[in-house]
């Protein structure tokens, strides 16, 4: 048996960040990867957010195209709205707005990289700091004595001991299972995400997409689908919670691919399918059960992806770093009990990740009810939003009459929109503004007034001529 101060199961960005941090603090640390190299088993989680560059500048400044040829950052994102007839009814292209407060967030919305390049890159910082990386090794169980965890065992029966084990082993976490922290996710805590990778010539992507690096295809017949551009290709994928699917998930992804608009895009980009991937992605309103005696869970294993958009790498790195800091504190004191490891929760709750999860319940609920509920919500949301945005650009009637037509039509969506606003929008606003909500903003009052306001808008202009419909 080999002895260590700290064992980390998993060499994704979270595991590597934990290993790097622990090694820099002088701990004897080993981290395990089941692939032949880090990143070989990862699909998606390919978007690096600006907070990574703000919070880990010394690390991230080293990320250059010679290390990571797939990298592509861009300022613009595009939201396509697709109606129930599978027609792109409109789109909104957006760039970082004036209120965005720091670089690089002012310059780009996301930096995209293939994990097969990024994960080995970040793991090297850990090995350079002195951490030992063992690849092609599947950890299958924890070593326990009188219920106390004291190490791990791999598939070949090799044993490794340490007073503390960090589970950085992703969505199906052996560390979580064997420590009793979680056997399985509840079905509404995890999503299934099938995804195609397409290859496309870099110059075509440059010419056609410009600095658009992200597309969201808001569907009425499929869950919203993301499109993420890399240097020489792009991902198209979609997901939903486990109990949502009523038929093969690829059926829904293929609906996106088969949009006429999408087929045109594939054609002009000269894009060809290159890889098919599918993965589970934890998507929770709050990470619970993150630690027990001798064990801490980080990243996906701990349920840390963003409750709104499921960004995963940044939360994994933040929680990985904190877990290693806590490890270095507690290992010297030889107290790795659950009550001491509570420090882990206290620390991540103070970070940007913790702030995100303060509204986790409300964010999770509104997102689940909107882009992930195509039939229930998007089927009326898309025509409603396009009525407002697109309806005004129309010369079929005198413009004042068009405004009345539009408002009258938008009003017809209120039986569906009002319960949605009540159930999801107001709770979120209430959470976001909390005590600042003055009486005028009281959701109950607004809801009382709103129908009356709408009733005041005439369905038809009285007299004075003007053709209707």
């Amino acid at each position: 048996m080999k002895d260590y101060d700290l064992i980390i199961v998993g060499a994704g960005p979270g595991g590597s960040m934990a290993a790097k941090t622990a090694a820099e603090k002088g701990l004897k640390v080993i981290f395990f990867e089941r692939g032949r190299k880090p990143g070989e088993k990862n699909s998606s989680g390919c978007g690096l957010g600006p907070r990574m560059f703000r919070d880990f500048p010394e690390l991230m400044k080293n990320l250059t195209p010679d290390k990571c040829p797939s990298m592509r950052a861009g300022a613009a994102s595009r939201n396509y709205f697709i109606n129930k007839d599978d027609i792109v009814a409109g789109y909104i292209m957006a760039r970082p707005t004036e209120s965005v407060s720091y670089e690089p967030a002012k310059s780009w919305i996301t930096m995209n990289v293939y994990r097969s390049e990024f994960d080995p890159w970040i793991a090297k910082f850990a090995t350079d700091a002195g951490a030992e990386l063992k690849t092609s090794t599947l950890i299958v169980d924890l070593l326990k004595e009188d219920g106390r965890v004291y190490g791990v065992i791999d598939e070949k029966g090799e044993k490794y001991s340490a007073p503390l084990v960090i589970g950085a082993d992703g969505v199906i976490s052996v560390v979580a299972q064997k420590s009793g922290l979680r056997n399985k996710w509840v079905q509404n805590q995890v999503t299934l995400v099938p995804q195609y990778d397409f290859q496309a010539p870099p110059e075509k992507i440059d010419d056609i997409m410009g600095d658009e690096t992200l597309g969201i295809w808001w569907g009425s017949t499929f869950p919203s689908s993301y499109q993420v551009f890399f240097n020489d290709g792009f991902h198209q994928g979609l997901g939903n919670w486990m109990n949502w699917w009523d038929r093969n998930p690829l059926y829904y992804l293929n609906r996106v691919i088969n949009l006429k608009y999408y087929q045109r895009l594939l054609k002009i980009l000269d894009a060809k399918p290159r890889e098919l991937q599918a993965h589970l992605l934890p998507w929770l309103d709050y990470p619970n059960n993150t630690h027990t005696d001798g064990v801490i869970l980080i990243g996906d294993a701990g349920g840390f992806p963003c409750p709104l958009e499921a960004e995963g790498i940044y939360p994994a790195m933040v929680t990985g770093k904190i877990a290693a800091e806590v490890a270095s504190e507690v290992i010297s004191s030889e107290d790795v009990s659950k009550s001491t490891l509570k420090k882990f929760d206290e620390k991540w709750q103070q970070t940007s990740i913790g702030k995100e999860f303060e509204a986790g319940f409300e964010l999770y609920n509104i997102w689940k009810a909107l882009p992930f509920s195509p039939k229930e919500t998007m089927s009326w949301f898309v025509p409603m939003i396009m009525e407002i945005i697109g309806g005004i650009f129309d010369w079929s009637q005198p413009h004042a009459l068009r405004v009345r037509q539009i408002i009258s039509h938008v009003k017809s969506y209120m039986p569906k929109a009002t319960p949605f606003i009540m159930a999801y929008v107001f709770p979120l606003l209430t959470k976001v503004f909390e005590d600042d909500l003055d009486k005028l903003m009281d959701p109950k009052k607004i809801m009382k007034v709103l129908p009356k306001l709408l009733d005041m808008l005439p369905q038809k202009k009285k007299k004075k001529g003007g053709e209707q419909k």
């Binding site: 032949r36 990143g39 093969n248």
Partner: protein
């Protein structure tokens, strides 16, 4: 148009057996049949089973394991260094 899936995945063989079903625990809910992107689960004479050559098709997403509320499906990732290789993930 459906995308031809053959050739879109790369694997290292010798994974060993990494998925199995305990038909005594299975309650025939059929969720695994629906959720598997690669359609690797089948039902014959009321009994659910995974196709023989699943190792050469499985994407290792573990959705079948996760979705099985009866706890009938066993899943462990393939041996270290084997199974699917994701180059553009």
């Amino acid at each position: 148009m459906n995308i031809e899936l053959d050739g879109l995945t790369k694997r290292i063989t010798d994974t060993g057996n990494f998925i199995s079903i305990d038909n005594n625990k299975c309650n025939n809910c059929g969720r695994c049949l629906v959720i598997c992107v690669m359609n690797l689960w089948r039902k014959k004479e009321g009994k659910i089973y995974i196709v023989d050559n699943y190792q050469s098709k499985c994407l290792e997403c573990a959705a079948c394991y996760q979705v099985c509320d009866a706890g009938a499906i066993n899943f462990q990732y393939p041996k270290g260094g084997t199974g699917i290789v994701i180059e553009k993930g």
